[in-house]
Every structure is written in structure tokens, then in C-alpha cells.
């Protein structure tokens, strides 16, 4: 198993929100995180400070990082699938960065 950093990002000018849809997203996202924990795939997480304003174009990407997950996966393809799931339930743009290979040694 390797570790991957999933970076959840939103564009600074977020699209118009529907409160009802946001409620559904929160519920779906909470269920998804529970599932990740239950299967031991979530190593750790961090959240950007809620009032943090990142300059547009930070990280070479016209979006702001909002949440970070360190997940365990057997390979990049699996990590990509986890990223796609997270993007779907939370509405993020998700970037995947390999962190460490289970056989030892940092990948970065």
C-alpha cells in the first residue's frame, strides 16, 4: 500500500449554490468519509483555515485548496478512483500527489 495526498480545491468564484443541494452534498460527503475510515484508507486529513484567502493561481491552479486527505491505496489508479469519488460527493477539483511507497522511501 502507498500513501497519496488528495488535494480538494474549489475555484475562487464558486458557482451559485443551492442550500438544498449543499445539504445533500454534506450528507453524501460525510457518508463517503465514514466509508473511507471504516476501510482504514484515511490516514489523516487537514482543512484550510475557513477564512483563508489564497491568491488566485496558487499552486499553479486557478483554485483554492480547501481540504487535504492522506489516503492509502494500492496504486495511483486506485488513488485516482478515490479522488474521483471525493470530487463527486464534495464538488471539489481533486489533485492526487503520491507521497510514500509502502515498500519504503518517499516518492517526492
Amino acid at each position: 500500500m502507498s500513501e497519496y495526498l488528495l488535494l480538494g480545491m474549489r475555484t475562487a468564484a464558486a458557482a451559485e449554490l443551492s442550500p438544498a443541494r449543499t445539504g445533500r452534498h454534506v450528507a453524501a460527503s460525510a457518508a463517503w468519509h465514514q466509508w473511507l475510515r471504516r476501510w482504514g484508507l484515511l490516514q489523516s486529513f487537514a482543512l484550510a483555515p475557513s477564512d483563508q484567502a489564497w491568491p488566485a493561481g496558487s499552486f499553479g491552479y486557478p483554485a483554492q485548496p480547501r481540504a487535504f486527505l492522506v489516503v492509502r491505496a494500492s496504486g495511483l489508479a486506485v488513488a485516482d478512483r478515490l479522488a474521483a469519488g471525493w470530487a463527486r460527493v464534495a464538488g471539489y477539483d481533486v489533485q492526487v500527489l503520491p507521497l510514500r511507497d509502502a515498500r519504503g522511501g518517499d516518492r517526492r
Partner: protein, 423 residues
């Protein structure tokens, strides 16, 4: 999360939305900024709650986060110094703990509705702004509901915000006379409801999202203005009409008229709510200076006659006709006259109503509507004059805009030719 917890969370976000917009608007003074602040707060909740857990009092968390963010925006805009000093007592009283229950200021929601229905705005702008700011629907959802392009709705909302801003309609200082604006508010909410309940165009007979929003806004209005008979009348009317929701079309999507609907499937809870709301409306109407019943209250009473009749045959058409006579005295419109003609036909027979319909056929308000033709065709059919019925069905089919009603009329015309009642 269980399905009920999901639904509760969704409802909490929807219910909090106008409170958050109102409270933020009070601080930042500008609708666009308030909307941006609330949106960003919702996104923060979407980031944090799934990982950290949903707070014990989600509404309190959102309200505190909104106010903090609004305070930051004021500061960032460089206008803060003076404003924050004037807001100091309010901000100091908030506390910092996210779980502290903020003081509920129900007037903010009412004030928000009054602002969205400001007389400076045209009705279509009032509807769009109310649906966005009070109901929390997105521009896309509103456009879908009203069957107009997204760009049209976006323009209406932008122009409405600009109009309010240009005329310096200040939220915090604006003390709307709710009584004087209530008629406009009720009209806007009923317009939202009817556009969902009986769309003027489109492929379906009903648009559940808009009708449900209209009903929800009517409930909110009674919560905020419990002493207003028109608000209770609106609630009663929408409850009665919504109670028949599930029975208005059959499994094939064909329109079912009142006589063909399965009354066992009518929503008894909504009917009970309507009866209670109607009772309060009538009590309060008696206590007002005018002491009379307004058009909405009379319409709610009419709806009650149908909703509480055990069978179609048991409908008290005499009482309905008497109510229409009262209604036409206070609201002399062609549409009311048309509905009254239907009641005459039911109470006194089709022949008594035909001359009334002939008079209405050239009314400007009905000239482009299929309704006169549809009613007259049905009366001719009941009198056995099939040739006249078919001619009127043809006129109605030429004018009808809703696809479900078109299919109903086409089937009725076919039956008038073949005499086949099952077609």
C-alpha cells in the same frame, strides 16, 4: 447517515438560507455581498462538517460563521473602521463559540421578503429575487421552473439587485410597512405556487419544485405574520390545492378532473392544515377594521368546498356559486367570471351557463386562452350538441399551451365524435 438524517440536513440548509441572507444583509448592507458571504459559509460547512462532524446546532454554526465572515468582508473593504465601531455592541454580544445560539431575529426574514417584493421592482423581478434570496433556488432551477432562459432569470436578478442598490434601499434601516406590502408579497408567493401547480406551458401538468416552494413560502409567511388573515388564507389555499397533487394525472400522465380523481388519495394532513389555516384566516378577518373577506380568503373557502366534499356528487355547488358571487363583487375579473360560469353550470345546468360563456369569449384577458373554449365544449357535450362541442374543442386545442391539457382536450374531442367514454 440515515435517509431521515440526510433529509433533516437538507431541510436545515434550506430553512437557514433566508435567515443567513437576512442577518448578513443587515451587516453588509448589499444583497450581492450578502449572497457571496452566505455561499462561502455554506462551502465552509461543506468542507468541514463531513470531516469534523455536523455541529450540534447547525443553524447556530452557520449564523456565527456568516457573521464572522461578514465582519471580515467589511474590514477587508476598508470601510470597516467606522462600521465595525457602530456594530461593536452587536458583534461583542455574539460571542466566539460556534455553538452559541445566536439571537433569532425573525424580522430579518420578513424584511428580506418585503425587500424582494419591493414596489420598485417589476413582478417578474420580484418573483425571481424571492426564489433566489428567500427560497434559495439557483438561477438554473428558477429558469427551469419558470420555463424561461437562464440568462433571462440572471438578468432579472442582477437588475433587481442593481435597482435596489441604485435607490439605496437599505436593508437595516428599511422598516417596511408589512401591511402595505403584504398584498404584493402574497401575490408573488401565489404566483410562484400557481406556476408550479398549473404551468402555462411545458410538457408536464405540474412542476413540483415550484409548487412546493410556493407552499413553503406560504407557511413561512404565516410564521412571520401570524396576525394577517391574507397570509393564513394563502396557506389554506395552497394546502387545499396541494392536497390533490398526486391525483391530478393518471398513470399515463393524462389530466384527471375533480370528478375522476380518487379522493382516497388526497393528502388528509394538508387538508387538515388547510382547514385550520382557513379557520384562523376567517377569525382574523372578522377582527380587522374592514371586517370583510378578501379575494384570497374567498378562494380558500372555495378550495375548502372541494377539498372537504366526500364525493364529487356531494359537492355543495350552491355554496360555491354564492362564494363566486361574493368573489366577483371584490375581484371582477374575466377569470373569476369564467369560474363562476362553471359553478352556474354545475348548480343550474349547462344551458344556464352558456350565455355567460358567450359573453366572456371576447374578453381581452381570455381571448388568447383555451379555457373558454374548453368549458364551452364540455357544456355543449353535456347538452348533446356534439357538432358545437367539437368546434369549441378545436378552438381550445388551437390555443392551449400545456401538453397535458392538450392531450386531455384531444381525447375529449375524440370521445365527442365516437361517443366512446373510455377513449
Amino acid at each position: 447517515m440515515s435517509e431521515s438524517a440526510d433529509a433533516a440536513l437538507e431541510a436545515a440548509f434550506r430553512d437557514e438560507w433566508p435567515r443567513l441572507i437576512g442577518a448578513t444583509l443587515r451587516l453588509v448592507g448589499d444583497l450581492q455581498t450578502a449572497e457571496d458571504v452566505v455561499q462561502e459559509t455554506l462551502l465552509a460547512a461543506l468542507d468541514r462538517w463531513p470531516l469534523l462532524g455536523v455541529p450540534e446546532r447547525p443553524g447556530a454554526w452557520l449564523m456565527t460563521a456568516c457573521r464572522n465572515r461578514a465582519r471580515n468582508v467589511i474590514r477587508d473593504n476598508g470601510r470597516a473602521h467606522q462600521q465595525v465601531r457602530s456594530l461593536q455592541p452587536l458583534l461583542a454580544a455574539e460571542g466566539h463559540a460556534a455553538d452559541v445560539e445566536p439571537p433569532d431575529i425573525p424580522d430579518d426574514r420578513l424584511r428580506l421578503i418585503a425587500m424582494c417584493c419591493h414596489p420598485l421592482l417589476q413582478t417578474d423581478a420580484q418573483v425571481a429575487l424571492t426564489l433566489r434570496m428567500v427560497a434559495g433556488l439557483t438561477t438554473d432551477e428558477i429558469a427551469r421552473g419558470l420555463h424561461v432562459p437562464v440568462s433571462t432569470v440572471a438578468q432579472r436578478i442582477v437588475r433587481a439587485k442593481r435597482t435596489l442598490s441604485t435607490h439605496r434601499v437599505a436593508f437595516a434601516n428599511d422598516q417596511p410597512d408589512v401591511h402595505s406590502r403584504l398584498a404584493a408579497i402574497v401575490d408573488v408567493i401565489y404566483l410562484v405556487f400557481t406556476e408550479g401547480y398549473l404551468p402555462s406551458a411545458g410538457e408536464t401538468l405540474t412542476r413540483s419544485d415550484l409548487a412546493a416552494e410556493g407552499h413553503r413560502l406560504a407557511l413561512l409567511l404565516t410564521e412571520l405574520t401570524p396576525g394577517e388573515p391574507e397570509a393564513w388564507a394563502l396557506r389554506a389555499l395552497t394546502s387545499f390545492q396541494l392536497s390533490r397533487w398526486a391525483t391530478r394525472v393518471d398513470a399515463d400522465g393524462m389530466l384527471l378532473t375533480l370528478d375522476a380523481q380518487d379522493r382516497g388519495l388526497w393528502d388528509r394532513n394538508l387538508i387538515a392544515d388547510g382547514v385550520e389555516a382557513l379557520g384562523r384566516a376567517l377569525d382574523q378577518a372578522l377582527q380587522t377594521e374592514r371586517g370583510g373577506r378578501g379575494p384570497l380568503l374567498l378562494q380558500a373557502q372555495l378550495a375548502a368546498c372541494h377539498a372537504t366534499a366526500a364525493t364529487f356528487a356531494a359537492t355543495d355547488w350552491g355554496a360555491i356559486l354564492a362564494l363566486y358571487d361574493e368573489l366577483i363583487a371584490v375581484q371582477d375579473t374575466a377569470v373569476v367570471a369564467l369560474n363562476r360560469a362553471v359553478a352556474v353550470a354545475m348548480a343550474a345546468g349547462p344551458a344556464a351557463a352558456l350565455p355567460l360563456l358567450d359573453e366572456l369569449a371576447d374578453e381581452p384577458a381570455l381571448r388568447d386562452s383555451h379555457r373558454v373554449g374548453a368549458v364551452r365544449a364540455d357544456l355543449h357535450r353535456r347538452l348533446g350538441d356534439m357538432a358545437a362541442a367539437q368546434a369549441d374543442y378545436d378552438r381550445a386545442l388551437h390555443l392551449v399551451g400545456n401538453d397535458v391539457e392538450r392531450r386531455y382536450l384531444a381525447a375529449a374531442r375524440y370521445r365527442s365524435i365516437t361517443g366512446n367514454s373510455s377513449a
